[in-house]
Assembly symmetry: C5
Homo-oligomer: 272 residues x 5
């Protein structure tokens, strides 16, 4: 049933972020050609079976050395990817430090309000006619944004990932605000984002029911300063200032899968 207090969402790729520390002491014991073989096997494990993509990231700092971001058609191929990587020889030299399970999501505040209004004028809300017409509208909308739901992982050099919640505090509670207030705050939030268009690509994925925060955010850019400028500016908009709670941040350099052996051998791996 379509609930007028709940923004409709459209879903795309299933997403798995996997973060690992490299146990360099184990790798050091191997000759270079072993590391080459280990890299090749790991790249193979994360190869995309039918549809989707995988990003390889060299992470800065101690929280992880490597982050793999997997976009797949569902949880089955995600399970397959994680299991395949776990079974590789390279995995013996990796310690899993974090992960994130989510689904690419477009939140549709404005569309939700519009459809409820238009269809509410024609049909009794909650009636079969209303629900079916609503489903048809959502499906049409889904077709229109298919390329954003099933995007390729952006090829920019710098990546920033963090999970976040909308606050449910005792005084400030996103989920107790009216639909209109929430929609207005999201509109303001989106307008700031739009001034960074071309400099940064943002992918939002929903994780309610899957992981410990409500959303995951991936940012991709050619200049890492853009991450700081964008997030700092957004921190002053009302949706963020009052209602955003942020988890840990992972920052790193994306590289081409075929550069994994370069990395294991001590060279900063390149994107292309």
């Amino acid at each position: 049933m379509h609930n007028p207090f709940v923004p409709e969402t459209l879903e795309g790729w299933s997403v798995l972020h996997l973060m690992y520390r490299v146990r360099w002491d184990r790798l050091r014991q191997h000759p270079s050609r072993d590391r080459e073989r280990m890299a090749a096997e790991a790249v193979q494990a994360l190869a995309v079976p039918d549809a989707g993509s995988t990003a390889f990231v060299q992470v800065l700092g101690h929280k992880a050395d490597l982050m793999f971001v997997c976009f797949r058609r569902g949880f089955e191929p995600l399970a397959q990817a994680q299991l395949a990587l776990s079974r590789t020889e390279l995995h013996d030299a990796l310690d899993a430090t974090s992960s994130y399970v989510s689904v690419v999501e477009l939140g549709m505040y404005e569309m939700t309000a519009k459809i409820h209004e238009q269809l509410g004028a024609k049909y009794k809300p909650g009636s079969d006619e209303f629900e079916q017409a609503f489903d048809r509208e959502m499906e049409a909308q889904r077709q229109r944004v298919m390329n954003r739901l099933f995007l390729d992982l952006p090829k920019a050099r710098y990546v920033c990932f963090y999970p976040m919640n909308k606050r449910r505090g005792e005084a400030l509670n996103w989920y107790s605000e009216s639909f209109e207030r929430r929609a207005a705050m999201m509109r303001e939030h989106g307008m700031i984002g739009r001034t960074y268009a071309g400099k940064v690509t943002q992918v939002i994925s929903g994780s309610i029911g899957y992981d410990d925060w409500e959303w995951g955010v991936d940012l991709f850019a050619e200049d890492p300063l853009v991450f700081k400028k964008l997030i700092y500016e957004m921190r002053f908009d009302e949706a963020s200032a009052k209602f955003a709670e942020f988890g840990p941040f992972y920052t790193g350099l994306q590289f081409a899968p075929d550069q994994l052996d370069v990395y294991l051998d001590g060279g900063v791996p390149q994107l292309a």
Copy 2:
């Protein structure tokens, strides 16, 4: 003594969730037939002695690789199951990362109010007659819902587990709300759940006095998107928006016990 401020509860299976990471580096050292033997022994350890069931789940992400959900007649057979698994050869390649101890529970807000009202009209509340009649009513009720208290673990492919509390904040405190307000909020909460009937099966277990949160929630569905849609919609009802606090989420794919060796050998295990 039956306290009119406290909702009565009915209890079923004793429940133990056990989460483990697999130490793939240890498993890799074994030939395939060793892993077969290890799988068989572990399945045997978790076999149900007299009554109950056990779910096997391949978890996504780093929090666990495997989750076992044990429904048993009491804490004794739970202790037996955990101990038997701990003594297996496979256990040498498992690291326990989390667990949850609880008892399947039906909260009876509406029934509690109704019995107090009906019996309070006949007997002096707290009198022996009142208490005995109350106990008889509860027992009758228990017989009526026996199949929900002692259900079989649902056979759906996707599983989501998380623990939760009702908030006891300085301003918003579930336990300081009146019985009527709590009952009304639970009714609204339940009505949203009902619109998902047929798409998701929910099992609530109580863990006050047993574990670090007040309740455990297991959801089972054939489509994992349902978890996100359901929990997101519920987040806007008053019971959740104002009073729910959520612990870590575990999401995964349920599989048949006889597929454990397939999993250890690198294949995504199937449910049937």
Copy 3:
């Protein structure tokens, strides 16, 4: 000096809870007769030197496999017990996961008020006469409750341990409430407890100055459902609803020390 805002307390046994995970992979390498010897040595280490008792508990879940609860005459014999256990062969297969240091304590809200009132009518509060008469009254009281201060560890099958605080929030602060309000809330709290008499034995120990929470609570019962019913009902009384903060819960099955080798060999150990 006896402070009329502070409830007097009487103290009994010094208490040490020790929680361990068993490293089953290490134990597996030994033949059965080694485990027998290891069990015997550990039981000897925890044997009571002169006065007190020790409870052995098989804990459910991943937080611990074994919990030992030591009641002793003071911190010296507690130090001796922990050190003796640390030096055993079995200890090589144990990982300490938690512990709790406390002293059995009876809080005397009603008695405190009564003595202050009675002696305040005779002597100037704070005068030597007042203080000495107060000390005599407390000592007489101590003699009267000696068997509760120096109780034997109850022999019930199920055990539940958790630490707790009284809240010191910005709006709700137990320590800023008047003595009378606190006394009244503790009276209500105690009355609920009394309706469970015979079904559960409760031991409160104070840990202010010794450990990270203010009190430890041990519950003993023959039916673990009683823990859930009791604590859930109490959660609605004002002292708990508004002011209680709870730490981690440990739940398990008490067993006789001479069953430790049965446990190490894979059998659920029995109490008698």
Copy 4:
């Protein structure tokens, strides 16, 4: 510049608390005379080079087995002590679990107010004359309390250490209270402490800028019940009830350095 809102402080010893768990499995592999040699080397590493003292403590519970408290002339000899201990053979059987970096500190609320008042009557606050006269007064004060700034570590049997903060909450904020209110609360706090004179010795050290809490507190007594009584009573004074936040508590038995080998061999070590 002397700021009239900030209480002046006087500083003494630089302090380093070092907490370790003993890896008894490693020690067990050695014959007794090895442990003697290891103890002797560790005692030597913590020997005081020119001025100061070192306390050895057997800690109760799992948070640590050993705590060393080092008083030294500055951070250089603290660095030297930690490094020397790290390089010993015994250190191979120790796991560092915690530590605390601080400087013995006397807070001077009353003196600060008095000097500002007296000198403010003579000189323009902030003027060179004012500042220099203030410095001279503080130096004179420092000479008067030299024995409290550079005390010997008390030789009592029982030790309790915990770090603490003054709350900076949204409603209750120590640092937003007026100087006079803070001074009055500290006076009340100190008066309770004084009623325990002779039973307990308290050492306060400041750690703002050095470690994760604002102050460290060490208590020394011949009877550990005194810790509980003192801290419980203080919890009701306004400074503690409303503004104190406490970190983890470490409780143990102080012993003479030459008893370290007794401890490693399984005997509870004695103070003298």
Copy 5:
């Protein structure tokens, strides 16, 4: 687009703090000349490729033994430094315990207000003329403070590092305060800092979008008491008292890179 609610920032070095515990048990197994070789290789790995500097710090306490602070031209050379160190023989004896990713940052509250006012009088805010003139002003400003954005790491003996946030509480929220209020609080905050000029050097780096806190603060001084005095005094200014949240503190002694082998051999390493 220049947003009048958001203070402009100027950026300099990219910064990576790397904290490690030394596994002394591993180092002990090597003869002294091995440690010399390992030190030389690690110093080489952290040598500055083209521009920047690296600080070596012996940290007090258990949180880390060594901290390396890397100033580099961007994230690429930071990635190169971390990877080079990870690949050294010494790294086999290091456990990464923490890290911090940030960019040297000057916050420009006063300048931001001034430029908006001046250019707003000439151009329509948001117009191309306005934006371009604004960019020119910022670039001119950047040239003026180039030596502060690309400073050398100060050579003082004592170092203190901590991350911090501006509070986004339910009642007190830095990001909901007006630009003018924030600017006034930062001015007061800066004035206290200025009274410590010559005694302490402060480096602020921004980490929004890069790491788990919003800013990192490094302090350098010849006397560690200055850290305590400065931070304690600042804690009473409004910006800190009401809005600052502090992460973990790391305190230690800076030393010259060529003293690393002295340290590994047990001598407190010197700065020059």
